[in-house]
């Protein structure tokens, strides 16, 4: 197919505005997928994603569309992930497109992510087609929403299709606009190959499969290729497109979106955003915008059953095949035994990995509170990178501690500026400025310690802005702060997995917050348990978990035996989900409790 008949686009939307439903309808209309013979929301491959309504794994589908002008067009629909942890990956999949279909819910109008995604698309010079969805709903306000889009984003909505992705109403108009409004790819087929990697996954038979968009030149089976950032070279063994099943082709031409395999063993070689070129005839410059993604958040993962350590190791190895940004190495905790310190791009990434381990690999995990990497300068002049509070050197050996700072841009509307600023201030934020983008839309810029963001910043931001704020952040470097390690003692024994590194000025408040939280989480036991927070041996907060006084079934007669035994079995199962640390039995949530201690502050 000649380049003029190719259209590469993505669909962007706020969560639940109907992105996946529209994608499904488009697949049906182009007869790519026959009548629901695939599961609902076909582009979200993993159960987990479907359940959470988010898309993490990118995917691309080729469709052929017979347009009203009588011509046949080739559409490449590229799905995008949607969370701040993966903004960079979103931007790379957008960079593989010439246009974007912006779906806005006619009942809800412009939302925070509508804006964030639109600006990301504009950054990548995409042609944007606004689409008003859910017009079949009783409370739809399509005209108001159109005005809102025009006023807030500044997109002309006079021709915006009014659709119902659910019923399929007017979806064809969207396809026509894709043909007429989105430009064809404009690469040069005669130039050396330049292909953008926008996703990759591991296939146990063929190695890593790279999903690419050809910007210049072409790629054929047998070509020797090079990844320009990593320098890795391979010979292409297979290439193809997905419709959504894999269809092998000999050559991917200029403007095409497809995949290739090259017996690549390590996903480390295939980085999202990297440029693939021909090793014999290399391009001079890679495509712009490549960023190496480094883990920013670390936490300890331990099997709650110590015998499952090897299973956890294997599961991590397997996940790693598909996830270049996941890092882990073995570590040992006095309280939790053998486990792994794992690095993640952000909190969502961490959540998803934990859930996949528990669900797909049937592991029962204990996760410690996330930590950032601290730079600890010792009096002997050396520096240690500390990603685990338990590893913090003795206070007397420390000259200074530096922690990572980020520049955070928070987009929000007038009504929530006050609460958002208050939140940033409470998180040790340094106010940099505020830009008014448009009537009612502002970008607040703050410098914040990363450690404050990885605690409960997202949740707090969402609740203080009613979901009407979006956050993007980037690392800007390390700064010296008065940071100390706070230990938590249960029954007068330090539980290493509960230690945290915090700012000295917040120690008292956090210490009492955490101890109170632990008191709520740890069930009463046969004896009284003091819960203490201490800095360098000095106790700064204390509560007691009272001893359990009565736990006995009131009645147990002849007809009750089965039922009462089940109750006891339930108690036994509950106990299994807890970890015995010394003489104290601790539920798994307790190890994350340092996260949610802000709940107590608010009370």
């Amino acid at each position: 197919m000649d380049q003029n008949h190719i259209r590469n686009f993505c669909i962007i939307a706020h969560i639940d505005h109907g992105k996946s439903t529209l994608a499904d309808r488009i697949l049906e209309l182009t007869e790519t997928v026959k009548e629901r013979d695939m599961k609902a929301q076909l582009l979200d491959e993993m159960d987990l994603e479907r359940e959470r309504g988010i898309t993490i794994k990118l995917n691309a589908v080729q469709l052929s569309y017979h347009a009203d002008d009588g011509e046949e067009y080739l559409f490449n629909l590229i799905d995008t992930p949607g969370h701040v942890d993966v903004t960079y990956e979103v931007s790379r999949s957008l960079a593989a497109c010439e246009g974007a279909v912006l779906v806005v819910d006619a009942t809800q109008g412009v939302q925070a992510q509508t804006l964030a995604n639109t600006y990301l698309a504009l950054d990548n010079d995409l042609e944007i087609i606004p689409v008003i969805n859910k017009i079949d709903m009783n409370n739809a306000m399509p005209d108001e929403v159109k005005n809102e889009i025009e006023n807030i984003i500044g997109l002309d909505c006079s021709e915006a299709p009014m659709i119902s992705a659910r019923t399929g109403q007017n979806v064809k108009e969207v396809l026509e606009q894709i043909v007429h409004k989105i430009p064809a790819p404009h690469g040069d087929p005669s130039k050396p190959l330049k292909a953008l990697v926008f996703d990759s996954f591991y296939d146990s038979y063929r190695g890593v499969i790279a999903l690419i968009r050809i910007m210049d030149g072409s790629l054929s089976v047998g070509d020797k290729i090079r990844f320009m950032a990593t320098g890795a070279e391979y010979e292409v063994t297979e290439a193809g497109i997905r419709n959504p099943k894999e269809v092998p082709v000999r050559t991917l031409g200029c403007g095409d979106v497809g995949w290739f395999a090259a017996s690549i063993k390590s996903i480390q070689d295939v980085r999202v955003g990297d440029t693939v070129t021909n090793a014999q005839q290399p391009a001079e410059e890679p495509l712009e915008g490549y960023r190496k993604m480094n883990p920013m958040v670390y936490c300890g993962l331990y099997p709650s059953d110590a015998a499952k350590y090897e299973d956890l190791h294997e599961a991590l190895d397997k996940l790693k095949l598909n996830d270049a940004s996941l890092q882990y190495e073995p570590e040992t905790s006095q309280a939790l035994g053998f486990g792994f310190r794992c690095g993640f791009l952000g909190l969502l990434h961490m959540d998803v990995v934990q859930e996949r381990l528990e669900r797909e690999y049937d592991l029962d995990l204990i996760c410690t509170a996330p930590s950032v990497i601290y730079h600890v300068y010792l009096t002997d002049g050396s520096m240690q990178e500390i990603d685990n509070p338990a590893k913090m050197p003795e206070a007397s050996r420390i000259e200074r501690v530096e922690e990572p700072y980020v520049k955070a841009e928070i987009m929000t509307s007038d009504a929530y500026i006050g609460p958002v600023m208050e939140l940033c201030q409470s998180k040790r934020g340094i106010y940099i400025g505020m830009d008014v983008i448009d009537t009612g839309r502002n970008i607040l810029t703050y410098e914040l310690p990363l450690s404050e963001i990885i605690y409960d910043f997202f949740d707090r931001l969402k609740s203080c802005s009613k979901g009407y704020a979006s956050l993007d952040y980037e690392l800007i470097g390390y700064r010296k702060e008065d940071l100390v390690k706070m230990d938590i003692l249960l029954n007068v024994e330090t539980v290493d997995a509960l230690s945290v590194i915090i700012h000295r000025t917040e120690a008292y408040q956090r210490g009492s917050g955490i101890t109170i939280r632990l008191k709520e989480l740890i069930p009463r036991q046969q004896f009284e348990i003091p819960v203490q927070a201490a800095i360098g041996g000095k106790v700064i907060a204390r509560t007691n978990i009272k001893s359990l006084r009565k736990n006995v079934l009131a009645k147990c007669y002849g007809g009750d035996i089965s039922r009462k035994r089940k109750l006891l079995e339930k108690q036994k199962e509950g106990k299994k989900r807890m970890k015995a640390v010394g003489s104290v039995v601790i539920p798994q949530e307790a190890f994350m409790s340092v996260l949610s201690m802000d709940d107590n502050d608010r009370r």
Partner: protein, 371 residues
């Protein structure tokens, strides 16, 4: 051969005049025709079951057995007449709303020598909240009626840890109950059963500390008034322990008749599955739960430790061929060290502390048994 002899027989009467909000037993509101059909089915079940002679105890519970009409009650007791030759204890659960002098006479005529009466509380507001339609005075009158007829082995049920119940209210209820001079008292802390009205209303019992305070007060008050605390929730004077229930806690076999009843024999335990309607259609239907030796040993510990005198090691060994301390060596050792259990030459029993935390104790046994 007397080995497989059941000492006890239980009949479950699935009818009540009204439904108490804490109850999730198998029961429904009394209707004459249904009760007649139920008696037909029970008769069939009794006739088609081989029942050994020499039964020690019969217990008729429910539901509310006294919700049956006088003639129905007479028929029920007549059905059981053939089995009562060697009976030492014959108990019927009754309540003041449904028990008339006629019915009392019927009970006595058939040899019933123990009654269990639901008092629950003296507090009218609490009784109303539980949907109980009687007063303390009603119970008091009933107790005296029995005394007047020469039946003195009376048990009263009380409840504590009820929503809105204060310590003072519980104390008053207990004092008033004791003032009636019953031989036996059962004091149950409120358990919210999922399928009870309370469970569906989302009612919460009192907090653990208040409950424990109440329990400890009850134990000390009743002991001062001559009641022996022989089981978690049961107290008896002058050796008037419930023989029937003691056999159950000693994990002896027993017959269970009527839908909603369970029984136990040498193979395991059995239930009558399904609804009343199904029971009427097929009174002989039973679903068996076959138990391994490990399970039987565990259940005998689970039941036996409810008694303050605990488990007889020699009887355990006679039954299962193992010494208790060989079956659960680690649990018994560590729980004794923690002061939860007391091991003597012949018995294993709970300390006061272990009694109150019996669930924790039993979970430890369960862990060692790997059930």
């Amino acid at each position: 051969m007397t080995a497989a002899r059941n000492p006890s027989l239980y009949v479950h009467v699935p009818f009540c005049a009204s439904v108490c909000f804490y109850c999730d037993f198998f029961r429904q509101v009394y209707q004459k025709e249904t009760a007649d059909a139920w008696l037909d089915a029970l008769e069939y079940e009794l006739l088609h079951t081989e029942i050994n002679d020499g039964l020690e105890t019969i217990y008729i519970g429910g539901g509310t057995p006294s919700s049956l009409s006088e003639s129905q009650l007479d028929r029920l007791l007549s059905l059981l007449d053939p089995y009562k030759i060697a009976i030492s204890e014959y108990t019927v659960e009754v309540n003041p709303e449904t028990l008339t002098q006629d019915k009392i006479d019927t009970l006595l005529m058939h040899g019933v020598n123990r009654v269990s009466i639901g008092l629950q509380s003296h507090d009218a507001a609490l009784l109303k909240m539980m949907n109980r339609h009687h007063s303390f005075e009603d119970v008091s009158r009933l107790v005296n009626q029995f005394f007047a007829c020469g039946l003195s082995n009376i048990s009263l049920d009380l409840m504590y840890s009820l929503p809105n119940q204060t310590m003072e209210s519980l104390q008053r209820s207990t004092e008033l109950a004791v003032s009636l001079n019953p031989a036996h008292l059962s004091l149950y802390s409120l358990t919210i059963e999922e399928n009870s009205v309370f469970g569906k209303q989302g009612v919460r019992p009192l907090d653990e500390d208040t409950e424990a305070d109440m329990y400890e007060w009850i134990c000390s008050y009743l002991s001062k008034h001559g009641y022996d605390h022989y089981e978690i929730s049961n107290f008896a004077r002058d050796g008037k322990e419930s023989v029937h229930n003691t056999r159950i806690w000693e994990y002896e076999d027993f017959y269970g008749f009527g839908c909603g009843a369970s029984g136990k024999d040498e193979k395991g335990r059995y239930d009558h599955p399904g609804t009343l309607k199904q029971y009427l259609k097929d009174p002989g239907a039973r679903s068996y739960i076959y138990l391994t030796k490990e399970e039987r040993m565990y259940e005998s510990v689970m039941m036996g430790l409810r008694l303050s005198r605990g488990i007889s090691r020699s009887r355990f060994e006679k039954r299962y061929g193992n010494d208790l301390t060989d079956v659960y060596p680690e649990t018994i050792h560590s729980l004794c060290k923690e002061g939860m259990l007391i091991l003597t030459e012949d018995r294993l029993s709970c300390s006061t502390h272990g009694f109150e935390l019996l669930n924790n104790v039993l979970v430890r046994f369960m862990e060692e048994a790997e059930l």
